[in-house]
């Protein structure tokens, strides 16, 4: 890369000056006296200062750059819970062979107020532990001395990495507030990065170009007669290479904490503000090196991924499965039959080892042979087999839940791959063979995040919607009779479809029926007399539960009248949304619908005094509806209740509407049927 420079010895001089506003090793008395964070009294701790400087440093002997990241933090601890922040763990890459990262120059202090005086305790070496986590990762574990409620701790360290194409993500937001942030990233012109914002908080950087240079001397060893080295004749050539570096400075004060304490939240990290860097180009032409494009738009990204030997070429291999697939599809008449046969074959042949990646790990051949693979191994193999069978199959790149939303074209944005078969007339099927209980177009929840990127053989790519068009359905049909001693006897049939069926199969298929009965009884306060589950293994059909039960607890008698909740044990009593406000979307991950139909036979000697009123409510923009109706038909009371959400994601702006919607729904459901004696 830097051939020219490799053969000369260089003395590298670099000057940089920066205004370090917060001095290391000093803390004000006011900071120590502060009893709570003024802008957020709930904070257990706060970053008083968070500084990071990342820059490229030239190594003269090796003729290459390395990335240096300097960290400087001041943390104020307000509560005993906040003491957790006095222990820190820094992970770095240290493989058994190959280039290592290192963490050096760890320095720290604890400041506490003791009898009105500032006590400063130095972090000693014995409080720093190194732990080899696994083959690749080592941790520096640091715990501060003499920390108490009220203390301020300060730390400084350096992380040095030979991996110049990877700049660690910038995090702007944490689970505690930040008083002052200062990040400075300096990137030489030789490296071009894409920057991708994430979360709900952003700091706009100040950008400037700075002229930098590498000044170096080339030593020409002096030679005397007969080639004998003569130091007196040594001459020096002074060389200087100028280059531009892009400096990004992120400065901000008072950044609020973002914590997770609400139901239906996708990974909280997705919502915390930050910035990701992704290399798009390496260009050393000015130095006589090469220029390499890595990615800059979606097509580049797709092409780049496709070109990788762990992706595109894995799709082309077919010799290892040829015979097996030929015999499997020989009896299939239609394309659909072929797809299902191949899909089922891959699921039964290769099991997922739990690792996500768009690239193969074992490689398709080995995965096929050993029966184990990561996501890339399995779904690229599947795609290849479908193509082999003559279908229009292509991989779809996915950013799985927890990996964030791929808004900008980056390689890291995708961490998962699935398969897609397209048919004439814009219809298509999505397949994920890592999930044993999935069926075409019903993907497991981990896949359902934003859109996927379809990559075709020619390298062109386009977006594909991943969320299932079919809602997750729970359909209950309940019939009961009431005996003279007010016990209720009845039958319930529950149908679970689509994602509901998938999650049931995942969670309960392997659990013994006896245990399921115990759980069902406990959850619903009934006694089960007969319990059947159908279609556990028949994935195309819905899960059907048929249960005969009895209960003494579903009817209330007060002053001779009977009070019954129309939905019996299917009644929802609890509003999941309890807090006043919500900052991030409500993520159900898929559209869903629950239908309850309940028929209650009016016992002899009683008549209806009162039935709950009809209710039909909706959320704005057709996000969701709730319908509830109780009617007397002959000697029966028939209740129908439908709750439906058409969108997988409900924006935080609708939180108040949603909370209100749920509170109405719960109130109505718990209104009672009143029966009086004839």
């Amino acid at each position: 890369m830097l051939k020219k420079l490799l053969f000369v010895s260089i003395i590298f001089i670099q000057f940089y000056t920066y205004a370090q506003e917060v001095k290391f090793g000093k803390v004000s008395k006011e900071n120590l006296e502060e009893e709570f964070y003024p802008l957020d009294s709930t904070a257990d701790a706060a970053y008083l200062y968070k500084n990071r400087k990342t820059y490229y440093e030239f190594l003269q002997r090796e003729g290459r750059f390395q990335i240096v990241t300097e960290i400087h933090e001041k943390i104020k601890i307000y509560t005993k819970e906040g003491l957790d922040f006095a222990t820190k763990s820094v992970a770095f890459y240290k493989p058994e062979s190959g280039d290592e990262e290192s963490v050096t120059s760890i320095k720290g202090y604890t400041f506490s107020l003791v009898n009105g005086k500032v006590e400063k305790t130095k972090l000693s070496k014995s409080s720093v532990f190194e732990e080899k986590r696994n083959k690749y990762t080592t941790l520096k574990k640091i715990t501060f001395p003499k920390v108490n409620k009220g203390s301020v701790i300060e730390i400084k360290y350096k992380l040095v990495s030979p991996y110049t194409r990877t700049i660690d993500d910038l995090e702007f937001q944490y689970n505690i507030p930040v008083k002052k942030i200062r990040y400075e990233i300096s990137i030489p012109e030789y490296y071009v990065f894409n920057k991708r914002a994430k979360g709900f908080y952003f700091i706009k950087p100040k950008e400037e170009s700075k002229s930098k240079n590498i000044t170096y001397t080339v030593k020409n060893p002096g030679k005397g007669s007969a080639g004998v080295r003569d130091a007196n004749r040594t001459t020096y050539d002074y060389n200087k290479i100028n280059y531009e570096a892009k400096n990004y400075t992120f400065l901000e004060n008072n950044i609020p904490a973002l914590k997770n304490n609400e139901p239906f939240v996708n990974s909280i990290k997705n919502y915390r503000g930050g910035l990701k860097f992704e290399i798009t180009e390496v260009n050393f032409t000015k130095l006589g090196g090469e220029r390499k494009f890595l990615s800059s738009n979606w097509n580049d990204v797709s092409k780049q991924i496709y070109k990788s030997s762990s992706f595109g070429s894995e799709l082309e291999k077919s010799s290892y499965y040829k015979d097996d697939i030929n015999s499997i599809i020989s009896s299939s008449k239609t394309d659909l039959e072929k797809i299902v046969a191949i899909f089922q074959f891959v699921k039964s042949k290769v099991k997922w080892n739990g690792y996500k990646d768009k690239y193969t790990y074992n490689g398709v051949k080995k995965a096929y042979k050993e029966g184990v693979g990561n996501v890339g191994d399995i779904n690229l193999m599947l795609t290849s087999m479908l193509r082999f069978a003559g279908l229009n199959a292509n991989p779809v790149l996915v950013s799985s839940r927890g990996n964030g939303v791929p808004l900008f074209p980056t390689l890291k944005g995708f961490d998962y791959v699935i398969s897609m078969v397209q048919f004439p007339g814009k219809t298509y099927l999505l397949l994920d063979a890592t999930e044993q209980n999935s069926i075409p177009n019903i993907l497991p929840k981990r896949d359902l995040n934003w859109d996927g990127r379809l990559v075709k053989k020619d390298g062109t790519s386009s977006w594909v919607k991943l969320t299932p068009t079919k809602a997750a359905i729970e359909d209950n049909m309940l019939m009961v009779k009431i005996s003279e001693d007010l016990t209720m006897e009845g039958f319930i049939r529950t149908k679970l479809e689509n994602l509901n069926a998938l999650s049931f199969r995942n969670n309960y298929n392997h659990i013994k029926e006896e245990e399921l009965v115990l759980k069902y009884e406990e959850d619903n306060s009934i006694e089960v007399e007969d319990f059947k589950i159908e279609n556990k293994k028949n994935l195309i059909k819905p899960i059907v539960k048929k249960i005969k039960f009895s209960s003494e607890d579903l009817i209330e008698e007060i002053n001779g009248k009977l009070y019954i909740e129309p939905l019996l044990f299917l009644t929802k009593h609890n509003n999941p949304f309890k807090l006043e406000e919500r900052k991030f979307p409500i993520d159900f991950s898929n559209a869903w619908k629950t239908i309850n139909r309940v028929n209650i036979e009016i016992p002899k000697g009683y008549k209806v005094e009162k039935l709950p009123e009809l209710l039909a409510i909706g959320l704005p923009e057709n996000i969701g509806i709730f319908k509830f109706q109780v009617k007397q038909i002959g000697t029966k009371i028939k209740t129908i209740s439908i709750l439906q959400f058409n969108e997988p994601l409900v924006g935080a702006q609708y939180y108040k509407d949603l909370k209100d919607f749920y509170s109405k729904l719960i109130k109505t459901q718990s209104e009672k049927i009143v029966l009086m004696k004839l």
């Binding site: 709930t42 532990f129 732990e131 920390v147 184990v372 009884e521 002053n559 009248k561 009070y563």
Partner: protein, 635 residues
């Protein structure tokens, strides 16, 4: 240019792997009764321990397990742990399918080597070599073999042939070879009802168990530790991380531990001594002094787990804890002891099993316990200090280390003592309150909730929550069954001296009552609903156990809206069983006011399995009475 030849070598290697078939590993051969209620079947588990010398032990293990389903994977973990004194010499794993065909093979260098530190520990020497196997079919059979050599003979592996629930055992064996005939002790437990074969000589001990059916888990029962067989073994002379040791009973164990692990670890620097002496100046009563020392320690330190020092058994020196301000349970206990020594209060380092109630075996001395606390003798009324807590009241253990046998290390020898117990009515919660219902069905209430014993334990940390989190706790945990609950004011009082926690609350609930033209209905028990009903087991097999027990007393004055008549009040009820008692009582005060009193008491105890049904029906009746509603009629 190196790429090419390497590639060829790899390919050659690859094609050499040849898999074989072992018929005896086929899962088809497992007797049906061993598959019943089992997620895994231990086909043959053998452990062979050879004590070559006081500082040399070799342990060979071979585990053959057939895993029947996904849940059985936990019985087929592939891993061996080690530390600085232990060297793993052999390690291999093979996987066979249902027919006994070998499908996967791991040699020693395929094992991952990671640190065996859990989330709560900052540093430890322990490491583990393991394999993360992804099952491709069920059933499958694992054959896992390992061998390690260690210089520490203090911990000889014990024998637990049945390792928990849902696992059956075709065969399990244990051989202990004591070639030098070093004197040793053993203890057999829970052998009754198990097919165990035993052979014993001065240099060898052998056990084996065959054809043991799987146990099914049932809730509310005794610990599996108390019913499954085990053999515990200990050498009279041993080596622990380079330290020689000798004991045959707890007294000697205590002497040894004091001498080698604790003595001399209590040195403190002069300034700390002066500081602590200054704090207790003028105080004579040793308990009052101890309170001050305990508070000093709580404010100065925090708990950080660092597992180093003589097999993890030696506490960090007191002056080191003093200078860094943190330590693990041993370090903090020893530090507190050193401080108490300075002020002239005697205290002893104490070993205990924390969390799950478990005794140090009073008849069998060996390395036992997983936690340390401090004992202060007090004329037969021992005081116990939990030194890892910054918030516990003085002398309060809570359910972490209560009511169990512990080993108190006195310089002249170890002594078994029992910690404070928190039982039945000691764990008392009382609520006194006034509740007012208005015409719209809304509730306003003022409550005083007072908690003691374990009920104190579960609440006193509420003082550390921020207001937002505290209110969330009331809404989402305590009263999650009351929608629309608002906390209008809350005052907490953590009375550490008397170990009493008091909450003064003002609450309101919108739309609590159901109103129609004539009637107004509401659940009379607004704030303390006990809905718990134990699971219904068709055929209960294990005894019933109720842990600790508790008592709740609720007293409310309830006001109804003025335009309604209080016609009927529910009848008073009283249930009394051997498991405890329950009562509710209503009393009309005036035309729009009545009182509601409730009392529930559940007693600690172990009862035969047939009692489970009666207990369940007792809890069911309670649950029903807890939901009683009252209807009042419009005037």
């Amino acid at each position: 240019m190196f790429k090419f030849p390497l590639l060829i070598i790899f390919t050659l290697f690859f094609s050499f792997t040849i898999f074989s078939q072992k018929k005896e590993y086929s899962s088809l051969l497992i007797p049906i009764e061993l598959k019943e209620d089992a997620n895994a079947v231990v086909r043959d588990n053998s452990i062979e321990i050879t004590i070559e010398a006081i500082n040399r032990m070799v342990v060979r293990k071979r585990k053959i397990v057939t895993v029947l389903n996904k849940l059985g994977n936990t019985d087929a973990r592939i891993g061996e742990s080690y530390d600085n004194n232990t060297k793993i010499t052999k390690l291999s794993a093979k996987i066979y399918d249902a027919f006994g065909n070998e499908i996967k093979k791991y040699s020693k260098n395929k094992f991952l080597d990671v640190s065996a530190v859990d989330g709560g520990t900052l540093y430890s020497d322990s490491r583990v070599k393991y394999v993360d196997y992804t099952p491709v079919t069920y059933p499958y059979t694992l054959v896992f073999e390992s061998e390690y050599k260690t210089t520490t003979t203090g911990f000889i592996p014990w024998w637990f042939p049945v390792n928990g629930y849902y696992v059956s055992v075709e065969k399990s064996s244990y051989i202990l070879k004591n070639e030098e005939a070093i004197s040793w002790r053993k203890k057999e437990q829970n052998f009754k009802g198990f097919e165990i074969d035993k052979q014993e000589s001065t240099t060898e001990l052998k056990y084996s168990l065959v054809n043991q059916k799987a146990y099914k888990y049932e809730s509310n029962t005794i610990s599996s530790r108390e019913m499954l067989p085990k053999v515990i073994v200990s050498l009279d002379k041993f080596n622990l991380d380079g330290v020689y040791g000798e004991f045959t009973n707890w007294e000697e164990f205590g002497q040894w531990m004091h001498k080698f692990l604790i003595a001399g670890r209590d040195i403190l620097d002069e300034t700390t001594k002066i500081k602590i002496l200054e704090l207790v100046k003028g105080i004579e009563d040793p308990i009052e002094k101890a309170k001050i020392v305990y508070e000093f320690m709580q404010n100065k330190t925090r708990y950080i787990s660092v597992q180093v020092g003589i097999g993890g058994w030696q506490p960090i020196a007191a002056d080191e804890v003093d200078s860094v301000g943190y330590g693990d349970c041993k370090g903090l206990t020893n530090y507190t002891k050193a401080l108490l020594d300075v002020v002239g209060v005697t205290s002893y380092f104490t070993l205990v099993y924390a969390n799950e109630k478990r005794n140090i075996d009073k008849d069998f001395s060996s390395f036992q316990g997983n936690h340390a606390i401090l004992n202060i003798p007090n004329n037969g009324q021992d005081i116990w200090l939990e030194c890892t807590s910054q918030t516990n009241p003085f002398g309060f253990l809570g359910d972490f280390t209560d009511d169990r046998d512990v080993l108190v290390i006195q310089p002249d020898g170890g002594v078994i003592k029992r910690t404070t117990s928190y039982k039945n009515e000691i764990n008392l919660q009382t609520i006194k309150g006034e509740i007012t219902f208005n015409e719209k069905g809304n509730v306003k209430a003022t409550l005083k909730r007072t908690s003691k014993g374990t009920q104190y334990d579960s609440k006193f940390n509420l003082v550390n929550l921020s207001e937002e989190e505290l209110i969330k706790n009331y809404k989402s945990n305590v009263w999650s069954y009351n929608n629309n609950l608002e906390v209008n004011s809350v005052k907490l009082n953590n009375d550490k001296d008397n170990v009493v926690f008091i909450e003064d609350l003002e609450l309101s609930i919108q739309n609590f009552a159901t109103i129609n033209e004539k009637e107004y209905l509401f659940r009379v028990n607004v704030f303390n609903k006990e809905n718990y009903i134990p699971k219904r087991y068709r055929k209960r097999k294990l005894p019933l156990k109720i842990n600790r027990g508790y008592k709740d007393i609720d007293e409310y004055i309830i006001k109804i809206p003025a335009n309604y008549n209080l016609e009927f009040l529910p009848t008073n009820k009283e249930l009394t069983t051997k498991f405890g008692s329950y009562s509710i009582a209503f009393k009309k005060i005036d035309s729009s006011t009545f009182s509601y009193k409730k009392s529930i008491m559940i007693k600690e105890g172990i009862y035969p399995k047939d009692d489970y049904k009666i207990y369940r029906s007792f809890r069911r009746s309670i649950a029903k009475l807890e939901n009683i509603r009252i209807a009042i009629i419009k005037k």
